[in-house]
Amino acid sequence: SQTIHQWPATLVQPVGSPLSLECTVEGTSNPNLYWYRQAAGRGLQLLFYSVGIGQISSEVPQNLSASRPQDRQFILSSKKLLLSDSGFYLCAYRGASAIRTQYFGPGTRLLVL
């Protein structure tokens, strides 16, 4: 069966510090991978997506970046966090089959102080 993991579950970071959030998927090969951010009480904003290793598409220009070093690993990073980076970060995958549903991980809640 397919599963998706994110860690850490919760993170409190000072302004100006770096960030690295990791997402891994099991049970599928060559998935599309996605990073979303959700502010409290708001909708989901697509940040990055990847259709293959090393391929990253950015949806929103900001101080975040994404990387896909392995087929089933997706990393969200920042060199210097801003207060506005606080939020709930969700990773999602879509399998390589014709089924186009996206499935989400449990999320990482980030608080920048």
């Binding site: 996605y34 708001r42 259709v51 989400f104």
Partner: protein, 110 residues
């Protein structure tokens, strides 16, 4: 379309009644639509999907209706239960991306 900056609207429904949650999408090229349920502190959970060549699809207690003429999607939940309390998002597929609508908070009245 995407409205990530807006507060979520709320729909209050009596327990046992049917719920209808509406969504407008923006891109006529969208060929696949999904409804998600998100409980507090969790990631969105898939509920039901529909392709653009259909206008209705039924699941267990849920029905999705698609009106491509007016770019409108709705989710109907039959016999609403306390466990249905959550935020519901519609999403449209455009190529490799899925773009989320603004979401609706469903509140169940006892």
């Amino acid at each position: 379309g995407e409205s990530v900056g807006l507060h979520l609207p709320t729909l209050s429904v009596q327990e046992g009644d049917n719920s209808i949650i509406n969504c407008a999408y923006s891109n006529s090229a969208s060929d696949y639509f999904i409804w998600y349920k998100q409980e507090s502190g969790k990631g969105p959970q898939f509920i039901i999907d529909i392709r653009s060549n259909m206008d209705k699809r039924q699941g267990q207690r849920v029905t999705v209706l698609l009106n491509k003429t007016v770019k409108h999607l709705s989710l109907q939940i039959a016999a609403t239960q306390p466990g249905d309390s959550a935020v519901y998002f519609c999403a449209e597929n455009i190529g490799d991306k899925i773009i989320f609508g603004k979401g609706t908070r469903l509140h169940i009245l006892p």
